[in-house]
């Protein structure tokens, strides 16, 4: 028996798959299926648009309209598509049942044409098969073999908890201990310009940048005031008015919060989601905004290439 394989074997012909198929389909359409309106073709077909349920059906004339209307938007956009997901990727997730009506057309022509493209022993599949990215083949029902309830896990939590369930009772009678009971704490050093003594702060105690910012304010407000007090001649009132440290996150204040991440780069606080920040931050620093050239010209978040260590 002749070799049998999907076109997407990974051999060089892969990239030509789409146009070739069009040819074949047009051929078989002419052979067997004249004059069917596109509407009718759509109606009679039950299956992923453009996708074929089995390999055989690629030849089905009714597929043609769907394939054309499926694939082309992708390929006309860019001939050598990489592994960019096509709309069918979503199809693969839907677990509907593939009813493909097809005329009983043989796959012989397809196989015949394919024979040239395919080397039965597969030994001839050269390394170039790895070199090129595979264009996304039409998805096949039931592949990969994942049950439907295991799909769509990347889409995040479609929380069922927020429903108007009859049983929601606010939790009042529980332990007053906060989450910090979890042993994991995340203490990082924090230094401030102009303050010789640094502090340590537990990032696990916060769940947002705002809270961190206000904590920094609380930590250093007094110290800063004490600093400026001692730096002057001390003639002033001992009770120097403590100035609120604000605008740490948006560049609007006198000081700005930056951090050093796990790759050693100095970064502006606030760009990444909080959780990601907590997991990558190594130490914090409160810098004078005037020292940050980007900020003084009006903010562009990104890496700061400042000399000098923290």
């Amino acid at each position: 028996m002749e070799g049998y394989s999907r076109k997407d074997v990974g051999c060089p012909q892969l990239l030509d798959l789409i146009p070739k198929e069009k040819e074949w389909l047009v051929k078989s359409a002419e052979e067997t299926n004249h004059g069917l309106s596109e509407e009718k073709k759509l109606e009679l077909r039950l299956g992923p648009p453009g996708g074929d349920w089995t390999f055989k059906q690629i030849n089905g004339p009714k597929n043609e309209s769907l394939l054309s209307f499926g694939f082309f938007p992708n390929t006309t956009a860019g001939a050598t598509t990489t592994s960019a997901p096509t709309p069918w990727q979503h199809q693969a997730k839907a677990s509907f049942f593939p009813l493909m009506e097809k005329k009983s057309c043989r796959t012989v022509e397809l196989q015949g044409a394919e024979k040239k493209a395919f080397s039965p022993a597969n030994k001839a599949v050269p390394n170039s098969s790895n070199a090129q990215k595979r264009t996304a083949p039409a998805p096949v029902v039931g592949w990969p073999p994942i049950r439907s309830f295991r799909k769509n896990l990347a889409n995040g939590n479609s929380s069922k908890l927020s429903s108007e369930s009859q049983s929601v009772v606010p939790d009042k009678d529980f332990s007053k201990k906060p989450i910090e009971n979890c042993p994991k704490s995340r203490f990082v050093k924090i230094n401030m310009d102009g303050v010789p003594i640094g502090r340590k702060v537990d990032l696990k105690a916060f769940n947002s940048y705002e809270k961190l910012s206000s904590a920094v304010d609380e930590l250093f407000r007094g110290l800063l005031a004490a600093q400026s007090d001692s730096s002057t001649n001390g003639i002033e009132n001992e009770l120097e008015e403590e100035k609120v440290i604000s605008g740490l996150l948006n560049g609007s204040g006198e000081y700005t919060l930056v951090y050093e991440d796990n790759e050693g780069d100095r970064m502006l606080v606030g760009d990444v989601p909080w959780d990601m920040f907590v997991s990558t931050v190594k130490r914090l620093r409160v810098l004078k905004s005037s020292e940050l050239p980007m900020l003084s010209c009006g903010s562009k978040p990104g890496k700061l290439s400042l000399d000098g260590s923290i």
Partner: protein, 648 residues
């Protein structure tokens, strides 16, 4: 027993009712006529056979002779029906009279992946009818891939008053209505487990239907029930179930509700944690329950699962139990390697671990370093896409093989793999019994060498001498089947997709693997002559599944003709009722004592056609197809149950 020597040879064919000799045992009453040796033997047999629990042993015993057959039939109490269509319920109830526990399996596994229409069959109702008459003392009912209706559950509840265990795996057709009836009527229920089943939400508060007094519940598993739960009632139920050891919640249970249940049931050994996220994000400073202590109080917890909508920050709450866990199922938790590491490095007793590939190769390396006792690993994809880079690869597989030498079972989804890693695993993990590797891109070669994956799988069958289950993927030629046929002498289950070149592939399998029971193949170029190569073996198999292969209707008819004890089901996607096309889309054949089934669906009108038309239009308009849920309630399909022709 001295009688043994006097008995006629009990080899096959002997009729035990002949020559009943009267033997006088001991002095005393001369009128006492002791039972004939045959009867004594039967009595002895019945008493001895009670101790035989393995069904395979019992099957063997029942073949010795009629006497043994009868004795065995009278003493068997646990029944396993691997294919509900292989034998009629009546035949079963006629033979076995004293069944207390029954397990019935229905649809073939590929039906999980939408390769069969939903109305294909595997109905529980006919079995129930027979059992309701004959097995009223039934205590345990286990159904897998069967269609069970609410009415069936109602009848079961009424017919089996002492039903203690009801386990439904991958079933469908019923809803919370049926569950309510079970809860209300099955007063002795100890185990109610619903796993991977599709259950309709009839908006019935089934949890409230359990009796008000102390229950004997030991296991309550409902994580697949996609319906809200009346939490207060559940809490009270748990509080009055002192024997409860296994509790698996669905994703409608928040982590705060989980806390409340845990503090009421610290004796739990198996816990499915539900959503593992709070109802709302808790602001800093607000009171949150002490989840950590709740877990610390569950000193017997060995199996943890759930995490259906996990907020990863809460994962640290499980630290207190990690050291005791033998099973951890994080296969719904989309967490990173960094989030996994602090958990897994404490799980040194772990034997079973299920995860998503979001943990990446790095996470698997952490598993390999920490879980030296690991026996079973399953890695599922977060996104079941064929074309993706994917976070797990041969690196993870290799790491696992190097760290987890006692591995027995692995299911691994990935996008790229190398022969070298698979070969390494075959050598590092000689105890492998189950090896299922799914390289999700079709026909994917070894991504480093560009070669087919033949050598890797070949090494598995060659080096893993205990292997009984194998699933292959990637670019595969006939060569891999040659290896499997040559070395896979213990292989019982084999799954093949998009593999092979010629009929030789299937021939190697059918000729080489004497123990093959379940063979499921899709989209591979095997045709009639390969099909015929298995004629000598099909009666020994549970089933053969071939879909999108190259068998023809003629070939199928020929098989049916030659093997009248087989049922050969053919699914062909023809428009015409009397299709003369030779095309066969799906072939499903299995042995049966009672011939083709009467409940095969017929061609029907397809209302869902129009829906799909809409889908296409929506696609044109640019709506994402993921938003469309098409659930065909009835679809046309022409099932041709090929009748074996009378012996010609």
């Amino acid at each position: 027993m001295s009688e043994d020597e006097e008995l006629p040879d009990l080899g096959g064919g002997a009729t035990p009712n002949s020559n009943s000799t009267v033997v006088s045992i001991g002095g005393g009453d001369q009128n006492y006529v002791s039972p004939g040796p045959d009867q004594v033997l039967e009595n002895v047999l019945e008493n001895v056979l009670c101790f035989l629990t393995s069904r395979r042993d019992r099957n063997a015993a029942s073949l010795v002779c009629k006497s043994w057959y009868r004795a065995e039939a009278l003493t068997r109490s646990e029944l396993f029906i691997g294919n509900c269509y292989s034998v009629s319920p009546r035949r079963v109830t006629n033979r076995f009279r004293l069944i207390k526990a029954i397990a019935i399996k229905g649809k073939p596994r590929f039906s999980d992946f939408s390769l069969l229409p939903p109305d294909w069959g595997a109905h529980f109702a006919p079995w129930l009818r027979a059992m309701a008459i004959s097995y009223r003392a039934l205590e345990k009912l286990y159904l897998k891939r069967m269609c069970v209706r609410d009415e069936d559950l109602a009848i079961a509840a009424h017919s089996f008053p002492i039903l203690k265990e009801l386990v439904l795996v991958c079933c469908e057709g019923f809803g919370t209505d049926g569950l309510a009836i079970v809860a209300r009527e099955c007063r002795q229920i100890r185990v109610l487990e619903l796993m991977d089943s599709v259950i309709r939400d009839n908006e019935v508060d089934w949890i409230s239907c359990f009796p008000e007094d102390v229950t004997c519940l030991e296991s309550l598993i409902f994580d697949c029930v996609e319906a809200p739960i009346n939490f207060e009632v559940l809490e009270r139920l748990v509080a009055r179930s002192p024997s409860l050891k296994k509790l698996m919640l669905n994703s409608y249970i928040s982590i705060t509700q989980l806390y409340r249940l845990m503090i009421r049931a610290p004796q739990l050994t198996h816990l499915g944690t539900g959503s593992f996220s709070p109802l709302e994000i808790v602001a800093q400073g607000e009171h949150e329950p002490d989840y950590f202590s709740a877990f610390a109080a569950c000193k017997s917890l060995i199996c943890l699962s759930g995490f259906k909508e996990i907020i990863p920050e809460y994962l640290s709450a499980i630290y207190p139990v990690c050291g005791n866990l033998t099973s951890l199922n994080l296969s719904y938790a989309n967490i990173s390697a960094e989030q996994l590491k602090p958990v897994i490095r404490q799980c040194h007793k772990l034997q079973t671990f299920w995860a998503l590939d979001s943990v990446s190769d790095e996470g698997l390396q952490a598993v390999s370093a920490a879980c030296k006792d690991l026996r079973e690993l399953r890695v599922f994809p977060v996104e079941a896409l064929e074309d993706a880079e994917g976070p797990v690869s041969e690196v993870g597989l290799l790491a696992i093989s190097e760290g987890c030498r006692k591995l027995q079972s692995i299911l691994y989804f990935c996008h790229r793999m190398t022969n070298a890693a698979v070969v390494a695993m075959s050598k590092n993990c000689p105890d492998l019994v189950v090896f299922r590797l799914c390289i999700m891109g079709r026909h994917m070669p070894d991504h480093v060498t560009g070669e087919p994956m033949d050598e890797g799988f070949g090494a598995i069958v060659k080096n893993c001498k205990k292997l009984t289950r194998l699933a292959v993927s990637g670019l595969l030629t006939d060569r891999v089947f040659n290896y499997i046929g040559q070395y896979g002498k213990l292989l019982r289950t084999l799954s093949v997709a998009f593999a092979g070149n010629t009929d030789l592939g299937l021939k190697y399998l059918l000729e080489g693997c004497p123990k093959l029971q379940k063979l499921e193949i899709r989209d591979s170029p095997f045709g009639d002559s390969a099909l015929f190569a298995g004629l000598h073996h099909y009666y020994n198999m549970r089933f053969l599944w071939l879909s999108a292969c190259k068998v023809t209707r003629q070939g199928c008819k020929e098989v049916a003709r030659q093997l009248p004890g087989l049922v050969v089901e053919v699914i062909a996607w023809n428009e015409e009722e009397n299709g003369t096309s030779e095309d066969v889309d799906t072939l499903y054949l299995y042995r049966s004592l009672d011939g083709p089934r009467a409940d095969a669906p017929r061609l029907m009108v397809r209302p869902s056609l129009i829906m799909l038309g809409k889908a296409l239009f929506n696609y044109r308009a640019g709506f994402p197809l993921a938003a469309l849920k098409i659930s065909p309630s009835s679809c046309g399909f022409h099932a041709l149950a090929v009748e074996p022709s009378p012996a010609a």
